[in-house]
């Protein structure tokens, strides 16, 4: 008699057959069960988002003045934080796309977490230009839409380039993230029950790991990596041109694009480390996220920190060498003006502290890395603060100089942005595997098939 129309292979009873692969069990474990510290963290994040939402309602009603927007500084913490979050996303794309093209196999264990970080960081960043508008209901003015006045946007403006760059980056990051997730969602679908099974079945799109599916999948990942590589380099370049295309002293510099990209990768890697260390510890993923991975990321941090150090030095040198009084004054004020603390924090946290990573033992010392990366993130936020605030507060005309002080509204929204980001990341942890299971299996099975070599 023919077997019923269920999976025939499931009926093949073999006493020594493992019920499931270890990678599936280990990596899917965080998505199961109820851990109260998790819900505590999620609850705190949601509360943080709510308080920022209430503050933003107040700001929308009263006006941007409550966010400290006054002559001469009209780009404050919102733009600082926007650049910060856009930068954070860069490590994810670098790990997923650029390291994929270089065939750096160590990325396989860290790419999913980094890609998720990219998506959520870009979603967070994308909020800030909107909040910064004041009249947020006019948002659609940024987009070229057909209108009765036949009025179109100005394509020669770097701010409009930014709209296209950020929306493209967000879209491609989400597509890349989802394509990578499909085979892993299928793994979850095959083992889930109830509502989760329905959700995974829809999202897995009938994935079965057939030959044509894998071939199309590998090809898509390759092509998206090829597309995402110049994209990631372009995005922060375009963000840097928001500043560099102007004639504000301290902004009008050709070094800005590579300087911003290096800084973005630097800060992004620091954030990846800051997130993956607790994830590895809490969910016991030491088998997959090894010291080797953190050492490699430390090397990237050291390398990009050195580029940042060079860029800082080059900025000061060019300001002096140019002989332009306004540039010289602007950079003098950065180091010794009213915002000197931000500048020295930036230099100490971004250039001096990371030099400790030349010591091999420290590159794999996770508590040390956790602390270092926290300071790097702080330093990277200060970097943007220094660039934006010092230049705007002391431009050409001394009569319009002013002192910028962060307002409580801005602080509240800044805190809300971290909570918003954390909320999405925590939700992601409970629904999807934080490590790319199929990519880990690819390495493990390949090693088994070729006698441990790969």
């Amino acid at each position: 008699m023919a077997p019923p129309a269920t999976a025939v292979a499931d009926r093949l009873a073999s006493p020594d057959r493992p019920r499931d692969s270890r990678a599936n069990i280990d990596i899917m474990a965080p998505t199961k069960g109820v851990q109260w510290p998790y819900f505590l963290a999620l609850g705190a994040a949601v509360l943080g988002v709510l308080q920022a939402f209430i503050v933003l309602l107040y700001q929308t009603y009263v006006g941007l003045g409550v966010a400290g927007y006054q002559q001469p500084v009209f780009w404050g913490v919102y733009i600082v934080t926007f650049v910060f979050w856009i930068g954070i996303g860069h490590a994810g794309t670098l790990i997923s796309a650029i390291l994929f093209l270089f065939r750096a196999k160590w990325r396989n264990a860290v790419n999913r977490g980094a890609e998720a970080l990219t998506v959520f960081a870009v979603i967070t960043a994308a909020l800030f230009p909107i909040l910064h508008l004041g009249r947020i209901w006019k948002l659609y003015f940024l987009i070229p839409y057909p209108n009765q006045r036949e009025l179109w946007v100005n394509f020669k403006s770097p701010l409009l380039w930014d709209v296209f760059a950020i929306s493209t980056y967000a879209s491609i990051s989400i597509v890349f993230f989802y394509i990578g997730l499909i085979p892993d969602i299928a793994i979850a679908r095959d083992r889930a029950t109830g509502v989760k099974k329905v959700l995974y079945t829809i999202l897995a799109l009938g994935w079965q790991g057939t030959g044509p599916q894998w071939k199309a999948h590998s090809r898509s990942v390759l092509h998206l990596s090829g597309l995402a590589t110049p994209l990631v380099l372009s995005v922060h370049s375009v963000v840097s041109w928001d500043f560099a295309m102007s004639i504000v002293p301290g902004w009008h510099a050709t070094i800005f694009a590579p300087y911003f990209v290096a800084g973005a990768v630097f800060g992004g890697f620091a954030m990846v480390v800051n997130i993956l260390i607790p994830v590895r510890r809490i969910f016991r993923l030491e088998r997959y996220l090894t010291d080797y991975h953190f050492e490699n990321m430390s090397r990237f941090i050291l390398f990009t920190s050195t580029i940042c150090g060079y860029a800082y030095a080059a900025e000061y040198f060019i300001a002096w060498y140019s002989g332009v009084e306004f540039e010289q004054s602007s950079f003098w004020l950065r180091a010794f003006g009213p915002y000197w603390i931000s500048t020295w924090c930036m230099i100490t946290f971004n250039v001096i502290f990371p030099q400790l990573l030349w010591i091999k033992k420290l590159r794999t010392n996770l508590p040390f890395l956790m602390g270092l990366c926290f300071f790097i993130n702080l330093g990277m936020w200060f970097e943007r603060y220094v660039i934006i605030i010092t230049s705007l507060s002391r431009e050409y005309i001394s009569g319009s100089w002013g002192l910028y002080v962060i307002s409580p509204v801005e602080l509240s929204v800044l805190a809300g942005s971290f909570c918003w980001f954390s909320m999405w990341f925590l939700l992601f942890l409970k629904v999807f595997p934080v490590i790319a299971i199929t990519e880990v299996k690819e390495l493990e099975i390949h090693a088994r098939d070729h006698g441990g070599a790969h």
Binding site: A9, R11, G206, P212, Q213, S220, L227
Partner: protein
């Protein structure tokens, strides 16, 4: 027609079985793999994936659309900026580039869905959660008279289980 479902532990064994089956003319087959293995994919079908055509078409559409949109809109609403032409090409490279990437990426995604046959649907009768663990499946449909030969061939290539499902 009879269908033989075989399970393998290693991709090289499954690929070897697929190659032998195809050499013997048994082309009605399907493989299931828990991870991507080029050897197995090429054994089943050596032709490159058609996804690349989607990426190319998407990228070209994006660059043409990007420039056309900007040139048309700049001429429709002329703003003189710094003495530049209304339709000044150098700054248009940026949005042109972004749209190349955007449409290239979207077309690649849709290419994956179309070429890979990805849409919410019932799974194959012979698909098993074992194939999303660490085992490999080769499912081949043969004539009645070939069952014994194909089973022997699969076992000869280290299939750890072979089952006949009609």
């Amino acid at each position: 027609m009879p269908t033989l479902v075989s399970v393998f532990d290693l991709p090289s064994h499954a690929a070897g079985a697929v190659r032998k089956l195809k050499d013997r003319g048994f082309d009605d087959l399907k493989t299931y793999s828990p991870a991507p293995f080029t050897d197995l994919e090429l054994a089943e079908d050596p032709r490159p994936s058609k996804v690349r055509r989607f990426t190319l078409v998407g990228g070209l559409t994006g660059v043409v659309l990007g420039f056309a949109m900007q040139i048309w809109m700049s001429l429709e609403w002329p703003i003189k900026i710094a003495g530049k032409n209304f339709a000044s090409i150098p700054p248009f490279w940026i949005v042109g580039f972004e749209l190349t990437i955007l449409l290239g990426g979207f077309f690649t995604f849709f290419g994956l869905l179309i070429v890979g046959g990805l849409y919410p649907r019932r799974l194959d009768e012979h698909y098993s959660s074992r194939f999303s663990a660490e085992e490999f499946g080769v499912v081949v449909t043969v004539e009645d008279r070939d069952v014994t030969e194909v089973e022997g061939l699969l076992r000869g290539e280290s299939a750890k289980e072979v089952t006949l499902a009609r």
